[in-house]
Symmetry: C2
DNA sequence: GCTTGACCTTCCAACGATGGTAAGGTCCAA
DNA sequence: TTGGACCTTACCATCGTTGGAAGGTCAAGC
């Protein structure tokens, strides 16, 4: 499998596959005589793992840990759970932060009549003098 | 007022004030003979406006529009409301996206016993074969 | 054999917002 | 005059991803 096929099979762009290799998230794969990268089923499996972890919001460093935990048969579930829990806590904190912003903004938007007049609570609030 | 004082008064770092000037978000301010930037009350007011807009999650392009709407006495509230509504819609979409991720992750974390055993639904899910 | 087009390679740059650091000039008070 | 706080510009880094440029490879069709 060339990198294009691996990209289609894994859902990760060829660009990113090269990037993951360059940054050490995945090992360097075998090459053909002309330098083309070759991928096997195991590589695709790993790439899919990465795609799902990214979709779950894990960053590269976390994915690196997840990968090594995945490949370590001896790992205790505890470690994985802790990593995921930390990520989940960050996610929840982020959600709350965004919700607070959205709440305040909703308030302002609701109070803005939004017609041709010039008075606007949204701008007034951003420009307030306190 | 020098840039340091302006930074303290506005809550925006000197670094970012220079950056905003370089990228055209704020106009170039007057300089002393030796090249020091000088800020007046109006400038501080503008910087505070920007800080609040950033805190509300608006990006630079949106803030640029907000600033020009703020400075245009003739602007209809409609335009401001539309801009804010679009941003709010993006915020809400983002929140939902994160909530879906958090929900799925919570599910997995809850089902992982997290002890010394090796079986782990979290890794199993990321590595699933479908 | 040659052309064409799809594919691959590496390298370099950009996004957006912010932080850091380095090398140097300025201001003010002791 | 010296020291320290402040300012200047310029460059590099982050994070994940995308884009482009310049060039090599492969396979099919003529």
């Amino acid at each position: 499998m060339n990198i294009g096929q691996a990209a289609r099979a894994s859902g990760i762009s060829a660009k990113m596959i090269r990037h993951y290799e360059a940054t050490g998230l995945i090992p360097k794969v075998a090459r053909s005589l002309s330098g083309y990268r070759h991928y096997g089923e195991r590589d695709i499996h790993t790439l899919r793992f990465i795609r799902r972890a990214r979709a779950a919001g894990f960053n590269t460093a976390q994915i690196k840990k997840l990968l090594s935990l995945w490949q370590d048969r001896q790992r205790p579930a505890r470690e994985v759970k802790q990593l995921a829990s930390e990520h989940l806590a960050e996610l929840k904190a982020r959600i709350i932060e965004l919700e607070l912003i959205a709440q305040a903004l909703t308030q302002l938007v609701d109070h803005c009549h939004g017609d041709e007049r010039q008075e606007c609570p949204i701008l007034d609030n951003l420009a307030r003098e306190d």
